[in-house]
């Protein structure tokens, strides 16, 4: 047995090396994707295109507009003359936000009735709209506070003191609310899963389709040995992938890595075993490379979307939350993010690690069983 496995491994590596483009295809796309997706994955809301209709043309209305200009959140793209222009800006995508300051704005501010500011938001992208509305709220309340502070000393009757409660937000683990810190670890896990699963699935199915599987069957090699020989190379490639993109995330994107590398190593090994197991399992369900390919697409996309990479699992309906339980990426993303940003250890991450180990064991066992059957 110990003589046959190294030979099988040797054969796999020769096969990988024979494909001149293989190394290129393994490394270059990975790095390019890492860079592109690292920069692309963002929900930040900056420079929201804004149209303004100022019907008051007073010092107060100009003051309010300058508060918007002062932040980098809003870019004023159009000073409209009438309502129709505002409507057309929103409908034709020239502006996402429109502010309408009615005539009498400054008078209303002074006589204490409260001055209305009409805001129209293109809600097509609900996330951007929601966050932009929050910023508008902040900007106008700051403007109000400044105005009130200036106005109150002038009033004869002493108005109410600053009463009430205020919120002191304290973001932990990512004080600067830097989104890259959230997405880069996610990109690392996702890229690795995609590559390892598809490589493993194809390697086995190709033997089947090209007809070399029969040759292997007549050799004295046992299913277990065959599978080990098929999986170890991809496990190692996956490790190389993770090391490479993690280094990239730390050095290029400056994501802090405050956890224990050993925990990361354990998590990555279990995750890769599960990924290799998934690839193998897929291969036992396909006879041709086209089928393997279709299955790959079929499963990897949901696994990616339902991993918590961008869409929080807590926001999914219950039955999908159950479905994510069989998704190795889901657990690995928790582990990798926690190790990167929270620096927690096995005492906290054991449920995820256990789940990964279970998934790995189940998928590898099932594929070995299915394989032995097809080889006999």
């Amino acid at each position: 047995m110990f003589g046959r496995i190294p030979i099988m491994l040797f054969k796999e590596f020769i096969q990988l090396r024979r494909d001149r483009w293989m190394m290129f295809r393994l490394i270059v796309p990975l790095i390019i994707q890492m860079i592109v997706f690292g920069y692309a994955a963002t929900f930040t809301v900056h420079h929201v295109t804004t149209a303004v209709l100022d019907l008051d043309q007073s010092q107060a209305s100009r003051g309010l507009i300058s508060h918007f200009v002062a932040t980098s959140r809003f870019d004023i793209v159009d000073m409209a003359r009438n309502r129709r222009q505002i409507t057309s800006d929103i409908v034709h995508d020239r502006a996402v936000v429109a502010l309408v300051i009615h005539a009498g704005f400054s008078r209303d501010l002074e006589n204490g009735r409260g001055a209305p500011l009409q805001v129209i938001v293109d809600g097509t992208n609900s996330n951007t709209a929601l966050i932009a509305l929050g910023y508008i709220n902040q900007i106008t309340s700051q403007f109000s506070a400044e105005w009130a502070a200036r106005a109150i000393p002038l009033q004869v009757s002493v108005a109410a003191p600053a009463t009430g409660i205020r919120l002191e937000p304290l973001p932990w683990f990512n004080e600067g609310l830097n989104e890259r810190w959230f997405f880069i670890p996610g990109v690392i896990g996702t890229l690795t899963l995609l590559q390892v699963v598809s490589l493993t699935a194809f390697a086995v199915v190709r033997e089947r389709e090209v007809g070399t599987l029969e040759q292997i069957m007549v050799s004295p090699i046992r299913p277990f040995e065959f599978i080990l020989g098929k999986t170890v190379p991809f496990f190692l490639i996956g490790f190389g992938d993770i090391a490479l993109v993690t280094a990239f995330g730390i050095l290029w994107f400056h994501v802090p890595f405050i956890g224990d590398p050993l925990v990361m190593l354990v998590g990555a090994s279990l995750f890769l075993m599960a990924a290799v197991g998934m690839g193998l399992l897929l291969s036992t369900f396909s006879h041709t490379q086209q089928q393997a390919f279709a299955l790959n697409f079929f499963l990897l996309n949901p696994f990616f979307i339902l991993s918590g990479f961008a869409f929080p699992i807590a926001a999914m309906p219950r039955f999908l939350q159950w479905f994510t339980m069989i998704n190795p990426l889901r657990y690995f993303l928790v582990v990798i993010r926690a190790v990167f940003l929270k620096g927690v250890g096995v005492n906290v991450l054991w449920p995820q690690l256990l789940a990964l180990a279970l998934l790995a064991v189940v998928m590898l066992t099932v594929s070995v069983l299915r394989f032995s059957k097809s080889l006999e």
Binding site: L109, G114, I120, S126, T140, P171, L177, F202, F298, L300
Partner: protein, 377 residues
């Protein structure tokens, strides 16, 4: 171009699809499954943020603040703790995303100075969720604050003054309830069609090479253009069927408002289908091994369509070089078009930009694909 040969090719390819039930099932069932899973999965709106409560004071007033968080519906209390370290533990385990801490002397400070802080701690690992939860928390506290101020005013017999107060009067257009699924699901349709289409055609030529049937094909009098069109026709029909299904599911099942007209939808969908199948075909012609073809197809479709098409991450927020790159990612045009048709009811004239982009793309891809295939061994 010979219509009879073209038809023969199309029939041959259709038969091949038909006789491989597994692939056919995948081509027809995949959109159904994906639509069902992704349509429900792609939501950014956390409705019940798991909240950790650390009420250091436990007075009537502090409990009233906590009650406001609970009754707002935005939060659900997962932990009530009595020590600071409890917050850290719960957050490490991911059992809560937000925690509120009400200090020991909360009501005393409030009575004495008229103002007291409520600390809100967030697990900011997921920045977007943090931003949303922070918005909810600010809303809750602002409401509590307004009520306390009103009580104070009433108790001290002060007329409430709105001097200098700007009152927001927000209106949201096109997606009035700000449901993130309405904006993401049209994008999901584009992504599914891009994935299915590429997987349909990306192996069609390399398969002929690997099975050795290419030699036979070359020895026939068929022209390269006829091979291409013949191979694309059956897949085009499957693609249209898939598109019809996905769009119907988006409208009737997920209830995404559809305000445009069907003709615009049909024209743009057919155009997009052409691009998608053309890309798959091009990959298939250029890369002879199936493994290579599939890897490239996976690389150029799945992650780019998900991350660079603007279906989740807004393109205008990306750095300029990446924005430039998104013009190559063909689903971006279709995502823009679909969103326009669905939510805004845009017609062809509003969609001229992305339509031109998509048309140029289709022409370019078909031209490249037609040139790439040579009847040579």
């Amino acid at each position: 171009m010979n219509l009879r040969r073209l038809l023969a090719m199309a029939i041959k390819e259709a038969l091949q699809v038909w006789r491989d039930p597994r692939s056919l099932a995948v081509a027809l069932l995949m959109p159904v499954m994906q639509m069902a899973i992704l349509g429900y999965g792609v939501s950014l709106d956390i409705k019940h943020v798991p909240l950790c409560v650390y009420n250091q004071e436990n007075s009537q007033q502090s409990r009233a603040v906590v009650d406001r968080f609970v009754s707002s519906g935005w939060f659900s209390v997962s932990h009530v703790i009595t020590r600071y370290s409890g917050i850290r533990r719960a957050m490490d385990r991911g059992e809560c995303i937000a925690a509120i801490v009400i200090p020991v002397n909360f009501s005393r400070t409030l009575a004495a100075t008229g103002s007291a802080p409520v600390q809100a701690i967030f697990d900011a690992t997921d920045v977007n969720t943090t931003n949303i939860a922070l918005g909810y928390a600010q809303g809750v506290v602002a409401q509590a604050d307004a009520d306390i101020t009103a009580q104070w005013d009433a108790a001290h017999d002060v007329q409430p003054s709105l001097v200098g107060q700007v009152q927001l009067d927000p209106t949201v257009w096109f997606n009035e309830t700000l449901d993130s699924r309405y904006f993401i699901i049209p994008g999901v349709v584009a992504v599914i069609l891009a994935l299915v289409g590429a997987q349909l055609t990306s192996l069609t030529i390399s398969r002929e090479w690997e099975r050795g049937t290419m030699e036979q094909l070359i020895s026939t009098p068929i022209s390269a253009l006829e091979v291409m069109l013949g191979k694309l026709i059956p897949y085009f029909l499957i693609g249209l069927f898939d598109a019809a299904f996905c769009l119907a599911a988006a409208i009737f099942w997920f209830g995404v408002p559809f305000r445009g007209d069907l003709a615009t939808l049909f024209v743009t969908t057919a155009l997009f289908n052409l691009v998608v199948l053309g890309i798959g075909y091009l990959i298939s012609v250029r890369i002879r091994s199936q493994l290579g073809a599939s890897q490239i197809a996976l690389m150029v479709t799945m992650l780019p369509t998900t991350l660079l098409s603007g279906y989740t991450f807004p393109i205008d927020q990306m750095p300029a070089p990446i924005q430039a790159l998104t013009y190559i990612v063909y689903p971006r045009y279709y995502v823009t078009i679909l969103r326009g048709i669905f939510l805004k009811g845009s017609g062809l004239s509003d969609l001229a930009g992305p339509m031109i982009g998509l048309s140029l793309y289709a022409a370019g891809i078909i031209w490249l694909a037609a040139r790439a295939f040579r009847k040579r061994l």
